[in-house]
Symmetry: C3
Subunit: 208 residues, 3 copies
């Protein structure tokens, strides 16, 4: 684990690090979805729901803090956006994973392992970058890496959709509708990670 | 009806109350959709379209007012967001109801009555809260109730999707695609009500 | 062509004009999609991807410029929103066109020609308006026209969805899911053009 959580420090930075740390945990749960037997998936979805609740509380604390602080380390609007986009990452991950369970999907497509690897990497890189917001040092490598990963995620997503529709062995329309919903959800998670990075880039350029 | 409209008062507060009041009317029309016979549904969709046009005009007036006012009661950005999210509530309600007509859907799923009850309650609670923006008093009960309702709407939405896909009697894929579009639209309306509440919470904490 | 690009002028205005100019080019490629034979479509999708990359770079340059400028012609937030919404127009156009290729769709629905005409007109009107941001003159005709076009696009979109689902000759659910994804993508592009116009309206009223 390349990032540090300092929960005794209730600063903005540590609240962002907490949010991003929860995303690292969430993407680890995702990976487990592919390893366990189908009947064990609901307990992973429950674990993700618990992480989402925790993330909601972290976001709420941040919003309260920014609104009640006289001085904030950077623009209130940027802090708001950063918190909201981190929250969106978690929401999309939790919902897409829950749909796999709710829709009683059996076989998951092969590309999903790579999709989860990309999301895991995005979460790790984000969690590593959050503490660097304090010094505003070494951030470009973070957003360049996120842009690269999002591009990779987007290409994979389109390829998986094409496979889903064109692969003759999966021409069951019900399965296609379900799986498209799941794949789109994970792609929205990747988009949200990119929005986090855009917000960080905006902060860094403005404050430097 | 627990809220008051004061149209003679052209202040920001009354414009917000007007927008929210139109949402109360719109959710009443929704409820009627479940009570009338199928051939009478188009006239309800038309009534919703008229309400949406009215809401558009209210939003437009608000935007003009905020942009031309030297002093505004709270941040321009917050006023903009509040107006835009109220507008989104109406847009999603009108569009989802129209899809029921356009798609020539016959039987509507049972859960929809509860979905509409939640949206009605969200609209009422929102309309009751708008005039309290003036004093910024008694607002936490509003956003706590909206968060609770949105959580309820989200759980119901997931349950309805699972039923739609897993219920053996409705395995017609065309029906599933249509109904998923409608259900997702109403869930987006509930999300928009929550965004309204988040914006109000931000304003209240900042100004207090 | 009613708009002028002045690439030697690296001002905010010319960067917006460049972005909008790329959208004019993109909507021209869309029109070609309907004229060429199916095997030639991938090369048009590739051309759109190149335009999207160019638009990304223009947006990135704008964001860097606004964040590093001491004085900006109007609010940073408005410039950010304008750049982001212009970028969204391109993203939705490129993605929806790519889906036509990825999904290996053969026959395209008749209404698509009109949908593309509306998007072309939106792009042209937007590109013509961008240079007028400098003087803030003659802008109302622009946003009124965009609102009119978006309304037209929305009505056409709903009509096309109804035809897709209700037309007996196209009851292949797989085709319906694919085509709905494509039509929704182009409708999101039209929505993004409207968001650009809303942002311009906000700027004009505020600064005048």
């Amino acid at each position: 684990m390349g990032f540090r959580l300092t929960p005794q420090d209730s600063s903005f930075y540590s609240l962002f690090a907490t949010s991003a740390g929860l995303l690292v945990e969430a993407t680890r749960e995702l990976t487990k979805l592919l390893e366990v037997a189908v009947p064990e998936r609901p307990s992973i979805a429950e674990r993700l729901r618990a992480l989402e609740t925790e993330a909601d509380e972290a976001t709420h604390e941040l919003i309260k803090k920014v609104n009640s602080s006289f001085i904030t380390p950077f623009d209130r609007e940027d802090i708001h956006n950063l918190a909201a986009h981190l929250d969106d990452c978690m929401d999309h991950i939790e919902e897409a994973a829950d749909l796999i369970v709710l829709y009683r999907i059996g076989t998951l497509p092969e590309g999903m392992a790579e999709q989860f690897q990309i999301l895991s990497r995005m979460a790790e890189v984000t969690a590593e970058a959050m503490p660097r917001l304090r010094s505003l040092q070494d951030l470009p490598s973070y957003w360049i890496e996120i842009n690269r990963l999002e591009n990779q995620a987007d290409n994979l997503h389109r390829k998986m959709l094409a496979d889903l529709f064109n692969n003759n062995s999966s021409q069951d329309p019900i399965y296609i509708i379900k799986m498209k919903g799941v794949l789109d959800g994970f792609e929205e998670a990747a988009d949200s990670f990119e929005k986090v990075a855009h917000t960080v880039e905006g902060i860094a350029v403005k404050e430097s």
